[in-house]
Symmetry: C2
Subunit: 328 residues, 2 copies
Amino acid sequence: MKALVLQEKNVWPALQEVPVPTPSEGEALVRISAAALNHRDIWIVKGMYPGIRYPVILGSDGAGYWEGREVIINPGMNWGDDPRVQSKAFSILGLPANGTLAEYVLVPQQQVYDKPPHLNMQEAAALPLAGLTAYRVLFTRCGLQPGEKVLISGVGGGVALLACQMAIAAGAEVYVTSGSDEKIQRAIALGARAGANYRKADWPARLKEEAGGFDVIIDSAGGPGFPELLKLCRPAARIGVYGGTRGAIPGLSPQLLFWKQISILGSTMGSDEDFRQMLHFVNTHRLRPIVDKVFPLEEGPRAFERLDEGRQFGKVIVSVKPHPHKRF
Amino acid sequence: MKALVLQEKNVWPALQEVPVPTPSEGEALVRISAAALNHRDIWIVKGMYPGIRYPVILGSDGAGYWEGREVIINPGMNWGDDPRVQSKAFSILGLPANGTLAEYVLVPQQQVYDKPPHLNMQEAAALPLAGLTAYRVLFTRCGLQPGEKVLISGVGGGVALLACQMAIAAGAEVYVTSGSDEKIQRAIALGARAGANYRKADWPARLKEEAGGFDVIIDSAGGPGFPELLKLCRPAARIGVYGGTRGAIPGLSPQLLFWKQISILGSTMGSDEDFRQMLHFVNTHRLRPIVDKVFPLEEGPRAFERLDEGRQFGKVIVSVKPHPHKRF
């Protein structure tokens, strides 16, 4: 089969012919129709991830066919029994196990779910990792309620954009930040109320003016901007943290934390139950993940470059085998 | 009546004769038997508190008599309808309203609760503010479960010591920090497993060695030690923050937060429901607050000095009118 294989550090995975894996009992050999990239894939290529091995087929997100069903794959494996936190055995599809950037992927059968019927294969491939992460941080961890004011930071990212769409669908008043005015405008077109460009020094004042304050803030940046988020919190606010691309948080005020009874809630990926609830939410609200750009499998390196540039709005998709009935 | 009246900044409140207040409908004129000091009282004297007025009778904690009952007073007034956070009308007894460092205090009747029968008046006076704060941060916010490993920082303080006692009573494995080896030994005598002196550079390593890691951490320091607490967290840990005496928190790692699914939960005082639950817990477990030292009302300034020195273990009590039947 054809696959994008990572052979060494700092070289984008390139197309290669590899053997089709053979399923053991309890495993599903899913024929991939579309896959999606995540920043995780970029970090692995750049050697910025624990447990990297070579060669490996990257890719955590996939939609395709299995036993006559149209399916998507839950990329979070072996979460374990505790709904609060993943077990030590937890892993994410696409390292260490070979991932979805191939014509076939081998996964435990319990990772396979029916594709939401209202989504095409590319939209479905855009959903699993980002949708799971967004759902858990927004609902399971932060307990978002209809009518609450929500701030989503860095709305261009896959998780942030799905969190934005989910919060809008849940009946929240959604505000966003981005480093790009265009992305803010696109979020507003999706139903966000307003936004602020974090490259402008007055972004906290702008948000304060627009929204007053926030009940829920979803952030994956951390860094020097984070203490400003605390100031923008309404009483009893929850800040969901699912990333830290800007690094350590300086100068956090305990006084703001305790007086406003703020909760800062770390969150990563999600449990099997989170995944089921996420699919139910997506089906109920007929939510459609935004596809930024589609590349054929043969142009894998260009897909990686697209995500690495950071100019995307929505998910970068790799189309593997769009036609179900054509054999290779 | 006699009262300790704060007349100006930086001068300990001194004994003075003032009129006995007259209750309106719905108010209770409680005859104080014993009162307790809190750091809040010190900060008010030093001008480090919002909304200070002169003259004012300080004191948030009191136990005494009302309508033939032995009572204690809930010092948190007008919490409001939201269990998650106090309303804007919330205030604490002893500023702006005159407090308990007097022979009588006037409070809304709903602030008055039956004294736990197993406590004497001095122990009962030691309970309200610290017990309410400790109960909320430990149970309502951090959801402490039996068998969990708990770290209480700065165990000499009133809230920390009651949190330590409550966590022990709830069946947790309790560890402590303090700047004093003697206080650590006293906490161990109460049932704590072990402790570390935060004046020694290796305190995080000591705690790691003793406990492995913690499910719940209760902290009122913040400051440069706080990021070490994150490293000591077990997966799904909750850090309850009810103060920030060491100031802003530098260098907090978002990666530790999200990967371990840690929750940092600000908490202050507690709702009426928290107060009721706290009393129920104290009665059920026959918990006895630790009394550090008792001063007669006439020696009020010495009581303030005792707390200001920071060498106390348990609550500093002011004995107002120990004998219920003696009229003044």
